[in-house]
């Protein structure tokens, strides 16, 4: 192996580290998108994002080839009225988790292509500080698993 190729590999490794930033510290669990009803103008994405590092990680954007754009939204239900508000970023606390769940904070995929249960969709997340992180979500029919809705667990 030549010095040049070792240097090349090292450079590629360095570049990979640099572009992922804290990405290695974030892990996605139960990352899924709701199957789209025909003609759906929007659908939602959910996950449990864990941050193993000792500093907060902020996600400032997301995109996918499966939809026109992705926004972060939070549903607040106050006095029986649901209101959605757009969030500029998602923050995952140091050593903690961020739960994206039905009826709470979620990814809103606007203008999605037809997504069918079982398909896998790649979503890229921009991290504060310049890194990116790409993860695959599974398309699921809503309500197909009891753990799709963590809030349901509160009602025995």
């Amino acid at each position: 192996m030549t010095h040049a190729s070792i240097a090349g590999i090292a450079a590629a490794f360095w570049l990979a580290c640099a572009t992922t930033g804290f990405a290695g510290e974030l892990s996605f669990h139960e990352f899924w998108l709701a199957e789209t009803p025909p003609g759906a103008m929007a659908t939602a994405g959910f996950a449990r994002i864990a941050n193993a590092s000792d500093s907060e990680v902020a996600i400032t954007g997301a995109e996918s080839s499966a939809c026109k754009r992705i926004e972060f939204h939070r549903t607040d239900t106050i006095d029986g009225i649901a209101r959605m508000s757009r969030q500029s970023r998602l923050t995952v606390p140091a050593g903690g988790e961020l739960e994206l769940a039905p009826g709470g904070t979620h990814l809103m995929l606007i203008g999605p292509s037809a997504l069918h249960a079982g398909e896998r969709v790649s979503i890229s997340f921009e991290l504060e500080g310049g890194g990116t992180l790409t993860r695959e979500a599974e398309v699921r029919v809503r309500g197909s698993r009891p753990d799709d809705d963590p809030h349901a667990h509160h009602h025995p």
Binding site: A82, R83, G103
Partner: protein, 212 residues
């Protein structure tokens, strides 16, 4: 032995007093409303079912949908919009799960009323609603007729603050309303998430019946 007049005086005095007291006790009992049926947490069963207002809407097949469509059957009704990515599809999925549990129940229908008629045309609802179940009914119509319906049973909806352009969101009540076969609001499910609880509550309410 006391004189005859004494023997008669006691019942003659006591009986009218008893009668008057009984009358007042019955009147008091009638004035206190009976306790409402306890159908579980997050379910309010109305002591006096509330008659629906008049409204003129249409379903996703283009057929007239007015209060008469609630006659002689029970109806679960939810108010939302098809652009909604979170609460509305989640609630319609809950409807689907409730339908599975109550599949044997006769004369029961599931209705999704759009609070966003600007975008939710009958055609749009015809795509969206049957995805959750082919028998579910999507309802839309003129905005003022939707307000006639929703304001009459306390359902809130409006465009979200800062809504601009075609991608606006709606704020809306998440409650599911149960309408009885005499077109009256019978019960309100304020956190409609658990299909088992909703199905059990429905059976209880149907068995108990609503007041005449």
């Amino acid at each position: 032995m006391p004189p005859t007049w004494v023997r008669w005086a006691v019942p003659l005095l006591v009986l009218p007093i008893l009668a008057v007291a009984t009358f007042f006790v019955i009147a008091m009992l009638r004035a206190i409303p009976p306790p409402s049926l306890d159908a579980g947490p997050d379910v309010t069963v109305l002591r006096a079912p509330l008659p629906l207002p008049d409204f003129a809407l249409f379903d996703h097949h283009g057929r007239v949908f007015d209060a008469g469509r609630f006659d002689e059957r029970w109806s679960f009704v939810f108010f939302g919009y098809t652009y909604c990515p979170d609460v509305c599809p989640a609630t319609l999925s809950t409807f689907r799960a409730v339908e599975e549990r109550l599949a044997g129940e006769p004369n029961l229908q599931y209705v999704f009323v759009s609070v966003d008629p600007e975008r939710d045309t009958a055609e749009r609802l015809a795509e969206f609603v049957p995805y959750f179940h082919p028998d579910f009914i999507g309802v839309t119509g003129p905005p003022e007729e939707i307000v006639n319906f929703t304001s009459g049973i306390g359902v809130y909806h409006q465009k979200s603050e800062g809504a601009t352009g075609p991608d606006y969101l709606m704020d809306h009540s998440i409650s599911v309303m149960l309408i009885d076969p005499e077109r009256r609001l019978a019960a309100i499910f304020s956190a409609p998430k658990d299909p088992d609880a909703i199905a059990a509550a429905f059976r209880k309410i149907r068995e108990h019946g609503t007041a005449p």
